[in-house]
């Protein structure tokens, strides 16, 4: 067993550890120094094989200008300008085809890059940050096993009580910083 080979084996064993640590570091870097916006959630509770229980739902916004996508299933890439508002739901102005570096308007508190869907009839307009889209404008929020059922019930009985804090970077990327129930932190 040569020293070089031992070093190679040690490096191979260290690789997963370093990668996991790097993943944590990357996520912490994403959250640090980002502006935060709190958004209500509506949804339901299935399970994920790897991560456990999650609430699958949609972020609930107020709209100044909805995405003008063709039909409620076809999404439109762009961004949402978050306007200053007193309402519990953040008020959005959808900007189609927005790219990082584009101007968004002076009245925007922050800008979130993502995808929007137009509302039709009883289907509300949707918007989801680009890196949080779990498909069709849905987000998955991983929740404690023993709270999953209560949270599911809460979403039905008291819409708006379950919210997420989105950490938004100046380039428009967003990640979930925290989950809240009636304003109180859940989990982390």
């Amino acid at each position: 067993m040569s020293r070089v080979f031992s070093a190679v084996v040690a490096a191979a064993l260290a690789l997963p550890l370093l990668a996991l640590a790097a993943l944590i570091g990357e996520q912490e870097a994403m959250l640090s120094g980002a502006a935060v916006v709190n958004v209500p959630v509506r949804g339901y509770d299935p399970r994920d094989l790897l991560h456990g229980h999650y609430i699958q739902g949609q972020l609930d916004w107020e709209w100044e200008r909805e995405p003008a996508a063709a039909g409620s299933y076809a999404g439109l890439d762009g961004a949402a300008c978050v306007l200053a508002a007193d309402a519990p739901k953040p008020r959005l102005r959808f900007i189609a085809s927005w790219k990082a570096g584009d101007r968004a308007g002076d009245d925007c508190r922050m800008i979130i890059a993502g995808r929007g869907w137009s509302g039709q009839g009883r289907i509300a307009a949707r918007f989801v940050p680009a890196n949080l889209d779990a498909g069709g404008g849905q987000v998955r929020l991983f929740v404690p096993e023993d709270r999953a059922t209560d949270l599911e019930q809460l979403l039905i009985e008291r819409p708006g009580a379950f919210t997420v804090d989105l950490a938004v970077k100046p380039d428009g990327s967003a990640s979930i910083k925290a989950l809240r129930v009636d304003g109180q932190l859940l989990g982390r």
Partner: protein, 391 residues
């Protein structure tokens, strides 16, 4: 136990003397391969890894996220150190079990990070990352068939879970037509997945064969790959009906040709002449059968069914011949059974009506009995597999 039982039996029958019986039993004790214990130990490591994952899944709210992450990293670190120490000390059992445990812990670590930071990525991304991080240390430190089997299961699972992006990739490079709906994946796609995976596994097994310490693992991977290839080609001959949206057969044929060439090149460059000959013939025949099966997959009717059946029987005939040459009795028996089964099915495909069905059943039964008799005779005449022969 089993060796002692047979040694005593042969001793009583006068086939071996007392001294030889003792020597056989002593040798078996000294070179014992406790498969059951290995299986139990492997299941134990797997159960522990799954247990950690389930606890991660429970997502205890009362434990702060930083503590969960720190404990997970600590466990991963401790397990990595254990693998290294056992590897240095050449303690086979402990090294393999610790490596399997680390394999599971890394996946639970990825899941935990996804949970804590609410990451939304698809499961296949987590699985690909898991394999990318773990394959290097498993390749260097874990040499047993048990670890090879578990790695192969993980690789196949990842391949299957990544079906959607693979389909999109194959559509982008014109191997398959683009899906009209995101849930749409025809049977042809799964056959292409199977063929490509089998060839990729042949390449990996060939590379593993280069290292003398991992040859038994390589042998197992090669067997799994060949079994996958034969199964895929058999299914292609049986079920590869092309539908209107499936596009032409050229894309899957070209993709299979490239994969076959890569697999053949790997076999050619890593195996000696005697070891690679049968495998290369099998690979070439499989590709030929795949091509013909896809070319005729657009046709319907009795004639097309008959062509597919003849092709199926011819393919398994070749597999049986190769198995006979290699002295692989079990595979030979399987090939013979497959041919018999297909003939029986062909019998039923060709007939209709109650009287004809009755006659078909009688004819099919006679056919099966005749085939069993011929198979029995052929198997008795078959040479045994030479000691230490590869797949």
């Amino acid at each position: 136990m089993i060796a002692e039982h047979f040694a005593r039996r042969w001793q009583k029958a006068g086939l071996i003397d007392d001294d030889l019986a003792h020597r056989i039993v002593d040798w078996e004790i000294a070179n014992r391969r406790p498969v059951v214990l290995w299986a139990i130990a492997g299941m134990g490591a797997l159960a522990m890894a799954l247990g950690v994952m389930a606890i991660v899944g429970a997502n205890w709210e009362s434990i702060p996220a930083w503590l969960k992450l720190a404990v997970d990293l600590g466990l991963n670190g401790a397990c990595a150190v254990a693998v290294f120490v056992f590897w240095r000390q050449q303690r086979l059992w402990l090294r393999e079990i610790a490596a399997l445990l680390l394999f599971g812990l890394v996946l639970s670590g990825i899941a935990l990070i996804g949970q804590v930071y609410q990451l939304q990525s698809d499961p296949w991304r987590a699985l690909v990352l898991w394999l990318a991080l773990c394959t290097p240390f498993l390749a260097l430190t874990a040499h047993t068939r048990l670890t090879g089997t578990i790695w192969a299961i993980a690789a196949v699972t990842t391949w299957v879970v990544a079906g959607d992006p693979i389909h999109d990739l194959l559509a982008r490079i014109a191997v398959l037509p683009a899906r009209r709906q995101y849930w749409e994946s025809g049977l042809l796609f799964f056959l292409v997945m199977g063929y490509l995976a089998a060839c990729a596994m042949i390449v990996l097994a060939s590379l593993r064969w280069l290292w003398p310490e991992t040859r038994s693992q390589a042998d197992l991977l090669m067997r799994l790959a060949i079994a996958g290839l034969i199964a895929t080609c058999s299914l292609a001959m049986t079920f590869a009906w092309r539908e209107a949206g499936d596009g032409g057969p050229l894309g899957p044929i070209v993709a299979a040709a490239i994969a076959t060439l890569l697999a053949a090149a790997a076999l050619w460059s890593t195996h000696a002449e005697a070891e690679r000959r049968i495998l290369l013939i099998l690979l070439a025949i499989s590709f030929a059968v795949w091509t013909v099966a896809l070319l005729i997959s657009g046709f319907d009717g009795k004639q097309a069914d008959l062509t597919r059946a003849v092709l199926f029987i011819a393919y398994w005939g070749v597999v049986g011949t190769m198995a006979a040459r290699a002295g692989a009795r079990a595979l030979f028996g399987l090939a013979f059974s497959m041919i018999g089964l297909r003939l029986l099915v062909l019998y039923f495909e060709a007939i209709g009506g109650l009287t004809a069905t009755g006659l078909g059943l009688i004819g099919g039964g006679v056919l099966c009995l005749a085939l069993a008799a011929i198979g029995w005779r052929l198997m008795r005449r078959m040479p045994r597999r030479p000691a230490g022969a590869a797949a």
